[in-house]
């Protein structure tokens, strides 16, 4: 990127000054053109199902890469029982639901998935959404109104924040994972109808919500909490019930939100809560009632995943073992992995955003597929690669990935004086 281009980011073009909303800002168009080489790392095209090894389409053909970008943490996307269930649903129920769940889109498969998720979460009722993002947006908008105050962790996912904007509630952010900051923000908005929003596992940082400390503060103020377990459900907790189960907080969390697109490797989302609250969201979370229900094949696949994980618990254990190994090895190279304690592992570059893209291309050329995450998705001085470990990465593959990082990333960072002293 040129100096001028690297000074700008997506944060600079949100408000357009063009004459018509149908005309993107001219400086955005020019910036996209100037940064085309750097941002060609985004929207890569895969030639096969997401797995520990993939083939990426390139200008000249295909390239084999170690894939450390997948949300399929438990390696279920090619599971024969899951695929068989989806195929059977196609035969039995066809390609689509052909209706909103409120009007006509629910099938017996759909109802069975609701019941299974209710059992897995421990909540009496569940609402399914055809999109993970959409479901979160719908829940936030459906619960919070103008005059309410949403007390939101500063790193909470944008889907909840967008939903809160739609609902019209005031958004009060608190410092990430800080019980002290939460207490201050709750105190500052005493008297308003309030609800706390946190992620179970932060998708760009890989740390868990400190639910015991945060919920203690919430209870002292008499305020409820919603936990978004998009990246933690099925992977955390003894039975896969998420960070809420991991910390033994089921009885203290008002809404547990999860997705079916990450560890489930399917698509969609769900909210689990009391029967009365779910019945309220049924008609006020518009991304539930005003859109088509999930396709039956996706519903059947998600349902099969729950069955598979009843017996293949080794996947969860392997995921955590792989994550600990990979993260520890990165740290021994002096690499900053942020606050990660999980299978989402940041490889922090820092504020040198041009270096982020240069390294992104070099890592990919050497066969390592990791995602660059730039400002404003993360803080300006925290540009990074987001590496995700899965249960199916073998030790040999992880070692290959680490070798590429040692050969490509470490020398470049050391040359710029950006690497920590090597851990002994």
């Amino acid at each position: 990127m040129s100096w001028e281009a690297s000074q700008f980011s997506l944060a600079d073009f949100y408000y357009s000054d063009s004459d018509s909303p149908l005309t993107p800002p001219a400086d955005y168009v020019a910036w996209r053109r100037d940064t085309a080489w750097a941002t060609s790392l985004y929207e890569p095209v895969l030639c096969d199902p997401a797995g520990p090894i993939n083939r990426l389409r390139t200008a000249t053909g295909e390239q084999r890469v170690i894939n450390m970008t997948s949300y399929g943490y438990l390696g279920l996307v090619r599971h024969p029982k899951v695929i068989a269930a989806a195929k059977q649903a196609l035969d039995d129920y066809g390609t689509g639901a052909c209706g909103s769940p409120i009007l006509s889109g629910k099938s017996t498969l759909y109802q069975a998935l609701e019941i299974k998720l209710s059992a897995l979460t421990g909540y009496p009722a569940v609402l399914l959404f055809n999109s993970g993002f959409g479901g979160a947006l719908g829940c936030a908008a459906g619960l919070m109104r103008k005059g309410d105050v949403a007390v939101v962790d500063a790193r909470a996912h944008i889907s909840m924040v967008d939903g809160l904007k739609v609902g019209g509630a005031k958004i009060a952010f608190f410092e990430h994972n800080s019980a002290r900051a939460l207490d201050e923000v709750l105190s500052a908005h005493n008297g308003a109808r309030r609800l706390i929003f946190v992620d179970g596992l932060y998708s760009m940082d890989g740390d868990l919500a400190d639910l015991p400390a945060l919920i203690a503060v919430a209870e002292s103020h008499g305020v409820g909490i919603l936990v978004d377990e998009a990246h933690s459900f099925l992977c955390c907790g003894n039975t896969g019930g998420g960070v809420v189960e991991h910390f033994g907080m089921r009885a203290k969390v008002g809404v547990q939100y999860g997705t079916l697109s990450k560890a489930f490797s399917c698509g969609g989302g769900f909210a689990a809560a009391s029967t009365d609250l779910i019945d309220y969201l049924r008609f006020y979370a518009n991304t539930y009632g005003f859109t088509c229900a999930m396709p039956p094949s996706v519903v059947a696949a998600a349902s099969a995943v729950i069955d598979v994980m009843q017996t293949e618990t080794w996947r969860r254990a392997q995921l955590w073992e792989n994550a600990a190994y990979f993260r520890t090895q990165l740290q021994s190279l002096g690499i900053n992995t942020g606050e990660s304690t999980s299978y989402v592992v940041p490889i922090v570059v820092g504020e040198n955003r041009a270096l982020l893209y240069q390294l992104g291309h070099q890592l990919r050329e050497h066969g390592l597929f990791v995602t660059p995450v730039d400002y404003p998705t993360v803080a300006l001085d925290q540009a990074r690669f987001r590496a995700s470990v899965t249960a199916l990465h073998t030790r040999a593959l992880l070692d290959q990935a680490l070798q590429i990082i040692e050969d490509v990333f470490v020398p470049a960072m050391r040359e710029k004086g950006l690497l920590r002293a090597r851990a002994m």
Partner: protein, 88 residues
């Protein structure tokens, strides 16, 4: 345009984003966060002010500022010169 006029533009946008804030009471030595603006509000205030002033400053530069006075000074300097940020 004077520096005071630039401050008035920023103060008006801030007051429209923060409930119950009187733009006349805004102290430029304080930050937008001090007045209860969250990070989304700040993007709206800065973007709205830049659009009205017809200047463009990369957000990466704005992140270095600590209070309203710094923002007003930066916008005023650019408005007074070419409308663009000086290159290093």
């Amino acid at each position: 345009m004077t520096r005071e006029e630039v401050l008035a533009v920023v103060a008006r946008h801030l007051a429209s984003s923060v409930d119950g804030l009187d733009p006349k009471t805004i102290d430029p030595m304080r930050s937008m966060k001090d007045y209860g603006a969250n990070s989304l509000d700040i993007v709206e205030v800065v973007s709205g002010a830049m659009r009205e002033l017809k200047v463009k400053v990369p957000r990466t530069e704005l992140n270095k500022l600590t209070n309203l006075d710094g923002l007003v000074g930066l916008l005023y300097d650019i408005k007074s010169n070419t409308g663009e940020l000086a290159k290093p």
